[in-house]
């Protein structure tokens, strides 16, 4: 059965129940369905959207985005496309088939227990796989999606999590923000939060421990997933027997320990230690645009070899130990250093530069820019930060730290020697 057909059954069963909440606006399942049908009609009649066509839409953090998403599926969308960080600095379009969408939804429903009556609070951007993927199980089970626009106003998050049977997905940096500044407030939600899922970046075992203490009745999951692999496996760290890495390590872990394999996922480890994933939740492939603007699918095949490195422990659990590429993980958001370097290269006075990860107490990693300058030039941190914001658009991509150095270390072939700068961040995802 297609994903939209599953949602249609939910609409028939629970027409008057709340489907979505955002900024005080609400819609029942019947209202959401009606709005999606209306939008589908508009897309077909006014924008001439039809089956077999690629349709790109800008993500907005609101109900309108959810309505358009459903409308496109009502129009017969066979797949969805999400952009992900490419290791070369150019985002890659990842095609997710309807079969994959259903498999991912089923993985989440079964592993985390989505159900009718649950209020799932999504704070992250809906064009990123983590938050986006939560729409799938929510609307398949008759739960309610509560959309927040980021976590700038933590009070909004606390209010959203107050109803009984609430749940959310928070990246480890967001959990750390809550623990650092708001742990007492979190205690007051101990009875209402049914589960919290985290993922996308390493989480310190001390944070896991504190969260478990503060929320003793809440199920806590650390999930291994990506746009390409889909939802692969999850680590239930609310269970005392799974504390830290197998309950043995009191040290902050720089790897996610992920235990239970999802229903629709198989994992193996390649010769180089790369995690290889297969199963119906995998992406269909990358969608590439050629020089003439024509789109072509580069199919993934049966097995996807990720850039994540890992191994199985003696209990058969998958342990993540790092990455085989140079992506910087900024609080769960993936950044190619090349994108930053390309942008910085045009700043007056810069001769050469390299963008490297720097440990950060809240975000895990933040980008730092090392530069060499032309003779007589100086570097003004605020000026270059603002210049990069204009080029990179998104604030989290702009380095927080800058340093003028004598030279950028190179390898014999002339490429930047990124590995030589990674000593302090080694092993971080």
């Amino acid at each position: 059965m297609k994903w939209i057909e599953c949602v249609s059954q939910v609409v028939e069963r629970f027409p008057d129940d709340l489907a979505v909440i955002c900024h005080g606006e609400t819609m029942t399942y019947a209202q959401l369905w009606k709005a999606a049908e209306k939008e589908a009609f508009r897309l077909r009649e006014e924008e001439h959207v039809q089956e077999g066509q690629y349709y790109f839409q800008t993500c907005t953090q609101d109900i309108a985005f959810v309505v358009r998403f459903l409308a496109l599926h009502l129009l017969g969308a066979q797949s969805d496309i999400l952009y992900t960080t490419g290791s070369t600095g150019k985002p890659k379009a990842v095609l997710l088939s309807d079969k994959g969408i259903v498999a991912n939804a089923e993985n989440l429903i079964e592993a985390h227990g989505y159900h009718y009556g649950l209020v799932f609070v999504v704070c992250g951007p809906l064009d990123h796989f983590g938050p986006w993927s939560k729409m799938l199980p929510v609307f398949m089970t008759g739960a309610t999606l509560h959309i927040l626009d980021g976590l700038k106003d933590m009070e909004e998050l606390f209010a959203a999590l107050r109803p009984a049977h609430s749940a959310t997905f928070l990246v480890p940096s967001a959990i750390r923000m809550l623990l650092q500044l708001n742990s007492e407030r979190l205690v007051s939600l101990a009875e209402s939060i049914e589960f919290i899922e985290t993922g996308a970046a390493p989480m310190a075992s001390s944070d896991m421990e504190r969260l478990r203490e503060i929320l003793p009745h809440t199920r806590l999951y650390n999930t291994y997933a990506s746009t390409e692999t889909g939802i692969v496996c999850t680590y239930p760290f609310h269970l005392p027997s799974t504390a830290g890495v197998g309950g043995e390590s009191p040290e902050p872990i720089q790897q996610g320990c992920v235990g239970t394999m999802m229903k629709h996922a198989k994992v193996s480890i390649g010769a180089e230690g790369n995690i290889c994933v297969s199963g119906p939740m995998l992406m269909a492939g990358y969608l590439n645009e050629d020089d003439e603007g024509k789109w072509e699918l580069e199919p993934v095949g049966e097995l996807f070899e990720s850039a994540d490195l890992g191994h199985f422990d003696c209990k058969g659990r998958l342990i993540l130990i790092g990455r085989s590429n140079d992506i910087i993980n900024v609080g769960g958001l993936k950044l190619s250093p090349i994108e930053v370097e390309d942008a910085a290269a045009g700043f007056p006075g810069i001769e050469d530069c390299i963008c490297i990860p720097e440990p950060h107490p809240m975000m895990g990693q933040v980008p730092k820019l090392l530069v060499t300058l032309h003779e007589g030039s100086t570097l003004n941190k605020r000026e270059i930060a603002r210049y990069l914001k204009e080029k990179l658009i998104e604030t989290w991509k702009v380095p927080m730290r800058y340093e003028v150095v004598e030279e950028i270390r190179k390898m014999p072939n002339g490429k930047k020697n990124r590995r030589s700068y990674l000593t302090s961040c080694e092993g971080q995802l």
């Binding site: 940096s173 923000m177 650092q180 500044l181 708001n182 809240m362 914001k389 604030t395 702009v398």
Partner: protein, 75 residues
């Protein structure tokens, strides 16, 4: 105190214009958290998300007023 806060925060958040009277609008969640934690550490005061109101984070002057209020509460 104002200049000390400016130096501390400009170093942490190079993109933010601390001369703005619409400071809150410029900040994201990391910016808000960074300000609260930096001021909390520097002046040994307790700040949490209830302090992160648009009024308290409107400008550098309002941040100074927040710190002064918290220090006065401590005494």
């Amino acid at each position: 105190m104002k200049e000390r806060i400016r130096i501390l925060l400009e170093d942490q958040l190079p993109l933010v214009d601390f001369d703005s009277d619409a400071l809150y609008q410029e900040l994201d969640s990391l910016g808000v958290t960074t300000i609260l934690m930096t001021l909390s550490d520097e002046y040994h005061i307790e700040l949490d998300s209830r302090d992160a109101t648009p009024k308290n984070l409107r400008s550098l002057d309002s941040l100074v007023a927040l710190v002064e209020r918290k220090l006065a509460d401590k005494e």
